[in-house]
């Protein structure tokens, strides 16, 4: 007999060096003739005795090797040469592993279709049952084509020991069953102990076992590991039932939340033996229904959460529209002043604002500002600021006093500690005199005859909402016909490119001075295009607001 104790280079040992130290491994090499099967039989008989294999396991090992090897001998070789087939078995605590290797044509017996079951003898297929038997008498099968060889690995679990039977009998699937009836049914099933955190199933995994939770607890996560959406599987429940029923890959993560003991029922045993017993079939349906109900509940929660979010989203959109609706759109300041004002809103609710309104027969107020922060609080703060701006400016008091009062009122009621930067300017359309105050905002840009742009030095003043005691200085400049004023927010100068550079004031001045603009709106379009080009597809992170004003001076009466 060509028996050999396998060397460390044998595939079975290479895969799991840790266990192989203790595991017993035997290997046999035979020729590709059916006559060799008697040698296999003798070899296996000796191993069965030496390893004291239980009858059920010994039978399954015998059967699987018989089917696998005769299959190879009969079908793997297309020539008349002599070939070798290597059979190896390994004895482990929980299972016996079998490996059959041959250099025949590539053939994967695992994914092959089984014989269709026939209803009567007349229509039944005579052959083709070998592969079916390999599957049904083992717990796991894997096939690989390695270096021109077929390698079939089959695992045959040791059946649950008598001590486990009580535990198994308490599971809901076996409710009302005698343990004496149970024992023979469990041949071919596997007890498995899992550590806390061990993943038992993951989406996409092919699952051929019903997992009964005997002790411990599992968690199911539908979308990703560690997500809150999911449910718990307690002892007495099961998992894997859906993929066993619909034969599709597992759809969720199943993870042990504490050390647990599971019983793995191969689908073949479940269908062909267990579910033929009415009581077990009913128990199974009940478990299945419970599981479906738990799943539906989780889905419902997820759906509700999404609807709530969508509802909130819609409310925000409405708020955003109201906010934008407060900004003036169509502006007519007479023939002396040509004006263009607009805001390009970022995705989120931002805090930019502007306003233009008459404060006297020849005088207009022009304002621009930016609230610190984003979101709903910023939007509400902006609405308050805008409202105060209008009411204070219409009182006819000096502009610095208006700003001082606005600041005091904002400070008085500012639970969320928001700030705003703000420029308020008053322009007299007859004289072209511009008086302005600045609460920490970017300077006004003046384009001399629309050609040479510079920043006007901002008068002293800090942002509003920060200190009740703040006071503001007023500055004044006389405009000549053709002069252009540009008021902007940092959405322009701090626009960011994909490589995280800022647009900057220099680039804005450069853009303005490029060439004289035909109109205020043409100039606004030019700036917006330049910013957009600079961002080059990067997401606009902040509101972008521009107020551009061209002073044309007193127009001769026609």
């Amino acid at each position: 007999m060509q028996r050999q104790h396998s060397a460390p280079s044998t595939p079975l040992e290479v895969t799991d060096p840790e266990v192989s130290k203790e595991a017993q491994v035997e290997a046999l090499v035979i020729g590709n003739r059916l006559a060799e099967m008697s040698r296999v039989e003798t070899w296996l008989r000796e191993i069965t005795i030496a390893w004291a294999l239980p009858d059920q396991v010994a039978f399954a090992v015998d059967l699987v090797i018989n089917e696998a090897v005769t299959n190879v001998i009969n079908h793997a070789f297309r020539d008349s040469e002599r070939h070798e087939i290597r059979i190896a078995v390994r004895n482990r605590d929980d299972a016996v592993e079998i490996e059959v290797t041959d250099d025949g044509v590539a053939f994967d017996p695992i994914t092959r279709l089984e014989v269709a079951p026939a209803d009567d003898l007349e229509h039944a297929d005579i052959g083709g049952r070998g592969i079916q038997l390999i599957r049904r008498f083992s717990t796991d099968q894997t096939y690989e084509r390695v270096a021109g060889r077929n390698r079939l690995r089959v695992r045959i679990a040791r059946p649950p020991v008598r001590d486990d039977l009580d535990l198994i009998g308490r599971h809901a699937l076996f409710a009302g069953m005698e343990s004496t009836i149970l024992e023979p049914l469990l041949a071919g099933c596997e007890m498995r102990s899992v550590r806390a955190g061990e993943i038992i199933l993951e989406p996409g995994q092919i699952n051929r076992h019903l997992h009964l939770v005997l002790e411990g607890r599992l968690e199911v996560h539908l979308d990703r590991l560690g997500s809150d959406e999911g449910f718990v599987i307690e002892a007495g429940e099961c998992t894997g039932e859906i993929s066993v029923v619909d034969c599709r890959p597992a759809s969720a993560f199943v993870i042990a939340s504490m050390p647990s003991r599971l019983l793995l029922l191969p689908e073949a045993i479940l269908w062909d033996e267990l579910l033929r017993i009415p009581r077990i079939a009913r128990n199974f349906m009940r478990l299945f229904a419970d599981r479906m109900r738990a799943r539906t509940q989780v889905m419902q929660q997820a759906l509700e959460q999404r609807l709530r979010y969508e509802h909130l989203q819609r409310e925000w959109e409405v708020a955003r529209e109201i906010q934008l609706g407060m900004l003036p759109r169509r502006l007519d300041l007479g023939p002396e002043i040509e004006i263009d004002a607009g805001m390009t809103a970022a995705q989120e609710v931002g805090g930019d604002f502007y306003d233009v309104f008459p404060v006297g027969p020849d005088e207009y107020c022009i304002a621009i500002g930016d609230i610190s922060g984003k979101g709903m609080p910023a939007a509400l703060f902006m609405v308050r600021t805008l409202t105060m701006l209008r009411s204070e400016l219409l009182l006819g008091q000096p502009i610095d006093e208006s700003l001082r009062r606005i600041n005091r009122r904002l400070c008085a009621e500012n639970p969320t500690s928001m700030f705003a930067t703000l420029v308020i300017a008053l322009i007299d359309k007859r004289t072209g005199v511009l008086r302005y105050v600045n609460a920490g905002h970017d300077p006004i840009l003046l384009g001399d005859r629309g050609i040479d742009y510079r920043a006007l030095p901002p008068p002293r003043g800090i942002l509003v909402g920060a200190s009740e005691e703040a006071t503001y200085e007023v500055a004044c400049v006389g405009l000549r016909p053709g002069d252009v004023l540009v008021l902007y927010t940092d959405g322009v100068t701090e626009a960011m490119s994909a490589d995280r550079r800022l647009f900057t004031l220099d680039r804005l001045l450069e853009c303005l001075s490029e060439q004289p603009a035909r109109s205020a709106s043409a100039l606004a379009d030019r700036i917006k295009a330049a910013v957009k080009g600079f961002e080059a597809g990067a997401r606009q992170s902040d509101d972008l607001t521009l107020v551009i004003l061209r002073y044309r001076g007193q127009q001769p009466l026609v």
């Binding site: 059916l34 039978f59 005769t70 003898l121 079916q132 038997l133 033996e273």
Partner: protein, 114 residues
């Protein structure tokens, strides 16, 4: 692998198989069993109590012979298989094609009832 046969009456043949129905064992009894089932009879009782191993090659022979018996108007019955052999018959789907009985008396009883 051994095969014995006895006529229980004119119309019922009892065949007793003994040993392993693997490649070698099946080859040893295949011709004899086929011949025995080729004669027209009411029933062929195959006693499996002495069979301690059954592989797909053995299933093939059992199914072929059961088909032959059936074509000649008879019926094949499998009797008293050992638990693991019974498991092979169940898991291969054979037991839904050829009736399997725990003992000869029950098997014969079904014939009388029919």
């Amino acid at each position: 692998m051994q095969i014995h046969s006895e006529l229980l009456d004119d119309n019922i043949l009892k065949v007793t198989l003994e040993g392993r129905l693997d490649v070698e064992g099946t080859q040893a009894i295949d011709l004899k069993l086929t011949t025995l089932t080729a004669t027209s009879r009411k029933a062929v009782l195959v006693d499996l109590s002495q069979v301690d191993f059954l592989a797909s090659i053995g299933i093939r022979t059992l199914l072929t012979c059961a088909k032959t018996t059936s074509k000649r108007g008879g019926k094949m019955l499998l009797v008293n298989p050992q638990p693991m052999v019974r498991a092979v018959l169940d898991r291969s789907g054979v037991s839904s094609l050829i009736p399997v009985y725990a003992d000869a008396e029950t098997a014969l009883g079904t014939l009388d009832a029919a």
